[in-house]
C-alpha cells in the first residue's frame, strides 16, 4: 500500500475532490486513477468492459487500503458499458449519482490504439475508433460539463497521444482521433473558461504500463528514436495529471503538455 506523500505540495492536494476517470481500457489508466487517489481524490471509474472498470477500482483500493467495491454493491463507484452516445453518457452519470454527489474532475483517457495501412482501413473501423476516442470524450465532457457549468467549477484533463501532433505509418485513423481530442480541449477551454472550468491535455508518448528492462525496450526502433531512450509509463505523467485536476490549476487552460521523452521536440 502506498501512503500519500507527506511532502506533497499543497497545489497537488485533491482531498475532497471527486474524479470521473474514463478509460479506453488497458493497464495505464488504473495507475493514473491511483495517482489521483494518492492525492486524495475519490474515483468513479468508467470503461467499456467490467474488468477494466474493476481494474481501475482495484488500483484505487491499493492506494486507500480499503477493499475494492464489488459491482453488485449499492453505490458502486464504477460504470461498465459504452458512453459514446447521449444515452450512454447519461447512464454514466446516473451510476455516478448513486455513488457521489458532485463531479469536480473528469479525466478522459481515451487512447484506444489502432494501426493499419491507410488503404485497408474500413469505414466501420474508422467510425468505431472515432466513436471510442472522440465521440465518447465529447459525450462525457458534454454531460459532465453541463454539471460543471451549473456548479461553476470543473477540471477536465484529456490524456492523448503525441500523435496528435505528428504523422506515423499506419496511424492515420488513430492520429486523427488524438488531434480531434486536442482540438476539443482548446475549444471547450475557451467556451467554458468564464465558468471556472479548465480543460487541458497531457500528451503521452510511446508508453507501457509494464516494467520492461531498458535493454529489451531498446531493441525497438521507436525507443531508440525517443531522445530519452525508453518508453513512458503512467508514472511519468501522474504528477502533472494531479496538478491539472486540482483547484490550484487556474491559469493554465486549453493547452496540451507533452511528456514523451523528447519525441515531439526533435526532427
Amino acid at each position: 500500500m502506498t501512503l500519500p506523500s507527506l511532502t506533497l505540495p499543497i497545489e497537488y492536494d485533491l482531498t475532497g475532490q471527486t474524479a470521473i476517470v474514463a478509460s479506453a481500457g488497458g493497464a495505464e489508466t488504473p495507475l493514473l486513477a491511483a495517482a489521483l487517489a494518492e492525492a486524495g481524490a475519490q474515483i468513479f471509474a468508467v470503461a467499456r468492459h467490467p474488468d477494466a472498470t474493476a481494474a481501475i477500482l482495484d488500483a484505487v483500493a491499493n492506494v486507500t487500503g480499503r477493499p475494492a467495491p464489488v459491482p453488485s454493491a449499492p453505490a458502486y463507484p464504477g460504470y461498465a458499458g459504452r458512453w459514446d452516445t447521449p444515452d450512454g453518457a447519461a447512464a454514466v452519470l446516473s451510476a455516478f449519482d448513486a455513488a457521489h454527489a458532485r463531479a469536480d474532475i473528469l479525466v478522459n483517457d481515451t487512447r484506444s490504439f489502432f494501426a493499419k495501412p491507410a488503404p485497408e482501413i474500413t469505414a466501420a473501423e474508422w467510425d468505431e475508433l472515432h466513436a471510442r476516442n472522440v465521440r465518447a470524450t465529447f459525450m462525457l465532457s458534454q454531460a459532465v460539463g453541463a454539471r460543471m457549468l451549473a456548479q461553476q467549477y470543473g477540471r477536465i484533463v484529456n490524456v492523448i497521444s503525441n500523435l496528435a501532433e505528428r504523422g506515423l505509418h499506419n496511424c492515420s485513423a488513430f492520429s486523427a482521433t488524438q488531434a480531434a481530442v486536442l482540438s476539443l480541449t482548446r475549444s471547450l477551454a475557451v467556451e467554458w473558461g468564464r465558468h471556472e472550468i479548465r480543460v487541458n491535455a497531457i500528451g503521452a508518448g510511446w508508453t507501457t504500463a509494464d516494467d520492461i528492462p531498458l535493454e529489451t525496450q531498446r531493441s525497438e526502433l521507436l525507443v531508440r528514436y525517443t531522445p530519452l531512450r525508453r518508453k513512458g509509463t503512467p508514472h511519468d505523467i501522474a504528477a502533472l495529471l494531479v496538478f491539472l485536476a486540482s483547484p490550484h490549476c487556474d491559469y493554465p487552460t486549453g493547452q496540451p503538455t507533452y511528456i514523451d521523452g523528447g519525441a515531439n521536440a526533435h526532427p
Binding site: T2, T7, A35, G193, H248, T253, H266
Partner: protein
C-alpha cells in the same frame, strides 16, 4: 505514484530570483525542500529572497549576476557548485521585460536590439552552457527556461521580446535533444499575461490590464508558476523534455481577440 514530487536534496540555481515570477518560484521551491542559489543583477532583492528561503528551511545563497555576461554566468554556476557540491536544476528566468521593448521597427537601435537579445536569449544560453558540464558529469540535470506566450505569437512593436522568447523556446528543444544522452532534460514554462512589473512601465500600454479578453476571464498570478517549477525541477518530470508548460488563461488556445465571438450556425441540409 507521486513519491518523486519533492525537491529534498536538490540544488536549484535560479536567475532573476529576487523579484516577480522568480521570487514566487523561489518560495515554492524552498517549500518543497530545494537548496537554492538565487541570482539577480541587484544584490538587495536576491538577499531578501535568500533570507526568505532560509527562513523557510532552505539552504540558500544569493549571487549577484548579470546573465548578459558569460563570465558572470560561469561564476554563478561555479559558486553554486562550490557551495553545494552540485547543480541539479537551472531555471533561466532572468529577462528584460519592461525596458525599451515597445518601439516601431525604425526606432530600434542596434544597441537596443543587441542588449535585449543578449539578456533574454544569450543569458539563457550562457547559463545553460555553464550548468550543462556539471550536470553531464553527474549524468543528470534539468534546465528550465521561462519563455513567454510572446515567444509563440507576435506582439505589435514588441520585436526583441517576442524574438528572444521564441528563441528561448527553440533553444529548449535543441538542449533537450542534444543533452538527452547526458541525462539532462530541458523544458520551458510559457506564461501568458501575469502582471509583475511596475504598472507605469511603457510595455503596459500593449498589455491587457484585465482578463476581459482572455477565455479564463482573468490575468494570471505570479504564484501560479510555483507548482509548475516544483514539478519540472523534481524527478516526477523525468520523462518530460523539449516541451512547454503553458499557463495563459486560454489565450493561445483561442487568440485573445475572438473571445466573445460565439457564432451559431445550423448544419446545411
Amino acid at each position: 505514484m507521486l513519491e518523486n514530487l519533492h525537491l529534498n536534496g536538490k540544488v536549484v540555481v535560479i536567475t532573476g530570483g529576487g523579484t516577480g515570477l522568480g521570487l514566487e518560484m523561489v518560495r515554492a521551491l524552498a517549500r518543497s525542500g530545494a537548496s537554492l542559489a538565487i541570482a539577480g543583477r541587484r544584490p538587495g532583492p536576491i538577499a531578501d529572497a535568500r533570507d526568505e528561503a532560509i527562513a523557510a528551511g532552505s539552504d540558500a545563497i544569493a549571487i549577484p549576476t548579470d546573465v548578459a555576461s558569460s563570465s558572470d554566468a560561469n561564476a554563478l554556476i561555479d559558486a553554486a557548485v562550490a557551495h553545494f557540491g552540485k547543480v541539479d536544476v537551472l531555471i533561466n528566468n532572468a529577462a528584460m521585460v519592461a525596458e525599451n521593448v515597445l518601439k516601431p521597427i525604425w526606432d530600434i537601435t542596434d544597441d537596443e536590439w543587441q542588449t535585449a537579445m543578449t539578456i533574454n536569449l544569450s543569458g539563457a544560453f550562457y547559463c545553460a552552457r555553464a550548468a550543462a558540464k556539471p550536470m553531464a558529469d553527474a549524468g543528470k540535470g534539468k534546465i528550465i527556461n521561462v519563455a513567454s506566450g510572446f515567444g509563440l505569437r507576435g506582439g505589435r512593436d514588441i520585436y526583441m521580446y517576442c524574438t528572444s522568447k521564441g528563441g528561448v523556446i527553440n533553444l529548449t528543444r535543441v538542449l533537450s535533444f542534444s543533452l538527452a544522452r547526458y541525462g539532462i532534460t530541458a523544458n520551458s514554462i510559457v506564461p501568458g499575461f501575469i502582471p509583475t512589473i511596475d504598472p507605469t512601465a511603457e510595455i503596459n500600454r500593449t498589455l491587457p490590464q484585465t482578463g476581459d479578453f482572455l477565455p479564463s476571464g482573468k490575468l494570471g498570478r505570479p504564484e501560479e508558476l510555483g507548482p509548475i517549477a516544483v514539478f519540472l525541477a523534481s524527478d516526477a518530470s523525468d520523462y518530460m523534455t523539449g516541451e512547454m508548460f503553458i499557463l495563459d488563461g486560454g489565450g493561445l488556445a483561442a487568440g485573445i481577440a475572438p473571445t466573445g465571438h460565439a457564432p451559431i450556425a445550423p448544419l446545411e441540409p
